[in-house]
């Protein structure tokens, strides 16, 4: 089975979010970048499926050269080759168009993504690519098993989950507990250096919804502490001051 996993190159989940240039650019000073946590789940499941069925596992990122270490990490975790579409990911539509183009060229049986990126949290690139390729798309998928050409999935819904059956090829936006995150071992890191990382050019520059200005939420005031022996005080505050009861 040939599998494509699309990964984002995003600030570590503990990063302090700040902007520069009059709040028009993300401030990457001192920020560590990682594979998006949901993309990491997708990758982990893809490695398991590739090991199970054979075939090839390709990872793809739409991003600039700064994404290369993130792609190398994915190779160290177990991907066989990497593709970087050499452009800033301007908006979801732009990214989806690039992925759809290169996914079609590769003729993949299964395309796994994260349920959402943790920078723009759109949760939409998988659906867009699905529609562009005429393939079914599912998200957020928390379980995915392949039996022949049948795929059995569990998709999270509000307050529970639904079990689904569909046929390959398809696209899934993944989340835990689909697989455990995999940590690259020494052998993986060594072999990643020689695996192919192909840089290709974007196929279109169309965009639809580009972020132009950023803003941080207002700072929070100090916490009001209530004595543990007078919890009725808290009830009064919630009722009369915060007015949330």
């Amino acid at each position: 089975m040939n599998i494509l996993v699309c990964i984002t190159h995003v600030p570590d989940t503990t990063s302090k979010i700040q902007f520069t240039d009059n709040n028009t650019k993300f401030d990457s000073a001192g920020v560590q970048f990682i594979i998006g946590p949901y993309d990491d789940y997708a990758l982990a499941r893809a490695v398991e499926l590739r090991d199970q069925t054979g075939g090839k596992l390709t990872v793809l990122n739409v991003g600039l050269a700064e994404s290369d270490p993130t792609l190398r990490k994915a190779l160290a975790i177990g991907a066989d080759e990497a593709i970087r579409v050499n452009s800033e990911p301007k908006d979801s539509f732009f990214v989806a168009k690039q992925i759809a183009h290169y996914a079609k060229e590769g003729g993949y049986d299964l395309i796994l993504m994260g349920r959402e990126s943790i920078d723009f949290n759109g949760g939409m690139v998988h659906g867009m690519v699905g529609e562009l390729l005429g393939m079914p798309s599912f998200s957020p998928v928390m379980k995915l098993d392949v039996e022949g050409t049948t795929v059995k999935m569990a998709r999270e819904i509000e307050g529970g989950k639904e079990m689904l059956e569909a046929s390959l090829p398809l696209i899934a936006g993944c989340q835990e507990p689909i697989a455990e995150w995999k940590i690259p071992n020494m052998r993986g890191i060594m072999s990643a250096r020689t695996k192919p990382l192909n840089v290709v050019e974007p196929v279109t520059d169309e965009t639809q919804a580009v972020a132009t200005q950023y803003q941080l939420p207002p700072a929070k005031g100090a916490v009001k502490l209530v004595d543990k022996d007078h919890v009725e005080e808290l009830v009064k505050l919630l009722k009369n001051e915060a007015k949330v009861l």
Partner: protein, 322 residues
Amino acid sequence: MSILVYIEHAEGKVKKTSLEAVSFANALAAKTGEGEVVALALGTIGQDELASVGKAGASKVLHGSDDRLTAGVIQAHASAVAQAFEKVGAKTVVLAKSSLGDAVAARLAIKINAALVSNVVELPDTSAGYKVKRSIFTGKAFAETEVTTENKILAIKKNAVDLKTDGGDATVETFDVSLSDADFASKITSTERATGEVLLPEADIVVSGGRGLKGPENWGMIEDLAKTLGAATGCSKPVSDIGWRPHHEHVGQTGVKVAPSLYIAIGISGAIQHLAGVNSSKCIVVVNKDPEAPFFKAADYGIVGDAFEVVPKLNEALKAEL
């Protein structure tokens, strides 16, 4: 012209988040002069319930009553919304962010050649161009987004507008959706859903427990407190990882993002990944025995104390007051 709102329902009721989307569309129409608000409901649901969507600001509800649409088959729903969009001659689709809504909106965006903006937190600024404010970095920041297409889809974050309740009844019209086999290429074989409980992503009050509660057997007091408040229950990631609580209760960066009026965190340290899921809450209360717990920095009110002592007392005090 009109604005189309894709609404969802469960257990015979239109979801509250969908009613918020209707109210958002109503306010948007008043601002842009896009005419009336038309809601689209798919699958089996009562006519009276649909008419009541009018209260939130819709003048008409299209009902695609084909029972195959009752389960949320993503492709089929996307096709149905695209057909309704065509029929009413809309330029804008509004919907609530949800598991199904997100999946449908993404496919719809390509079908109707519309820009999709997700996590929208307020009405667009149409004074020069079309700018939409959305929440990004899991609630840690906002982005002003410039939309350049004629057709638009806005996926609304919870609490982006006040729910309107003073509208009249909507007229309900049957809408024939034409569906192909391809729309049903995937099958939902079964559904497991907590019934009768307040659903976490939509709850107005959430009571959450963390590893400080020591074990699943101690969740009784969390559930009691939630019951008193009519709240949903949530938990931190390690709690669902160890299996003390079901996965769909896990709140945070990699779990459910909540935006209730009141979030009560009990025995949760307040790691940045947990805060990412709760930072849109209106009011946060923290109960933790460690005065240095980081959660206190993100809280409005706090009690430093042992949960096993504080929670039952708080429950009694609330019962006396409510």
